[in-house]
């Protein structure tokens, strides 16, 4: 059996061989460059991820953390959710709030005092899913400190390079991303972000006791966040004057 390429080479009297050889070399070179580029981009992404993973908790007083899909899986795959709610359309923002509100009003006696902040933070996370992805789901857990919410979307993940936009506090003309995260960071104790090509998962941890203290401090005319940040700075975790929100 003769290979078609050889047929062609012999049929052209052999002059096609150098052309095929040159073309072959060229395609190999292009393929090599593409693989190299992909590897460089992957390495860059990994470097960016590692840098953000280190820097983000520092600049947010530990409120925001970036975790890998493996870390997410290891930390939470065994937990059983108390509630699972699908997120698909605009009205789900209200439905999610209503369901969570009803559920926890029977669990905490102090729920009425903290519900406003927690439900607003939840609204922000669910709105992001409806606005920017094809859909997702909310999983609700209960930790000793308070409810924990996992907002998982079925989008294509987050552009790591755009992550610093979250730290722009206040309303932005171009995007409300900054505003949403400012609100979430105010009312939850910690947010973990896990992003991959399969979508984004946000873990919102609340601390009911801390929220109540904050309310009490505010009623007495103090600023809980300033106090807690000062305490964190005194404990030596690098926070203090540099916190990003009021």
């Amino acid at each position: 059996m003769t290979l078609p390429g050889f047929d062609l080479i012999s049929a052209t009297g052999g002059w096609a061989f150098p052309i095929f050889a040159v073309l072959g070399c060229y395609f190999c070179y292009r393929l090599g460059r593409r693989v190299q580029k992909a590897k460089t981009e992957q390495a860059k992404d990994q470097e960016l991820f590692a840098a953000y993973q280190e820097v983000i908790p520092l600049v947010t007083c530990g409120t925001l953390r970036l975790i890998s899909p493996e870390e997410y899986q290891n930390a939470y795959s065994k937990d059983k959710p108390l509630l699972v709610i699908d997120i698909k359309q605009k009205d789900d923002v209200r439905l999610v709030r209503q369901t969570v509100d009803q559920f926890f009003s029977g669990v905490f006696t102090t729920w009425s005092e903290v519900r406003g902040g927690i439900l607003t933070a939840l609204s922000e996370a669910v709105t992001n899913v409806v606005k920017h992805t094809p859909g997702g789901r909310l999983l609700v857990y209960l930790d000793p400190a308070g409810p924990r919410f996992h907002v998982e979307d079925y989008g294509s993940g987050m552009d790591l390079a755009k992550l610093p936009a979250m730290f722009v506090s206040g309303y932005s003309e171009k995007s409300t991303l900054g505003a949403g995260f400012t609100i979430m960071m105010r009312y939850v104790e910690q947010i973990e972000i896990c992003t991959s090509e399969a979508g984004v998962s946000l873990v919102l941890r609340t601390n009911v006791g801390q929220m109540l203290s904050r309310k009490r401090t505010r009623r007495e005319g103090g600023d809980f966040h300033a106090l807690s940040c000062r305490a964190a700075a005194e404990a030596g975790n690098g926070c203090g004057q540099n916190h990003l929100w009021q």
Binding site: K90, D91, D92, V93, R94, R97, G116, G117, L119, T120, S123, E124, T127, V130, K131, S169, G170, Y171, T176, A179, G180, T182, I183, R186, W245, Q246
Partner: protein, 100 residues
């Protein structure tokens, strides 16, 4: 759920909002404003004291009215004596643009 009550009509409009203003409920407010016709409004005051929840999308909608009215030399005011709502307005920095 958002309840929209037009307390005072054009041109010095006052609208009281009750319930929640977010992505899912904003349309009710939009309909009320459309019916009033922005071109006939000189000032638009929103009373937010009856709101339970307002999120960044709801605030974005109010800022949208501010932008639209500014182009027509109109003004938007936010009246509110609800501490939780005021905290969110302050957090996002809306009070630098929209005053009582």
């Amino acid at each position: 759920m958002l309840r929209v009550k037009v307390i005072k009509g054009v041109p010095e409009v006052v609208i009281a909002l009750e319930g929640s203003l977010d992505m899912g409920t904003g349309e009710a407010l939009q309909r009320a404003v459309d019916e009033l016709n922005l071109n006939r409004i000189h000032s638009l005051t929103f009373s937010l004291s009856g709101l339970e929840i307002i999120d960044s999308t709801g605030i974005g909608q109010l800022i949208g009215y501010h932008r639209a009215l500014s182009q027509r030399n109109g003004r938007v005011y936010l009246e509110n004596d609800n501490a939780e709502i005021e905290e969110i307005l302050g957090l996002i920095g809306v009070r630098e643009i929209l005053r009582s």
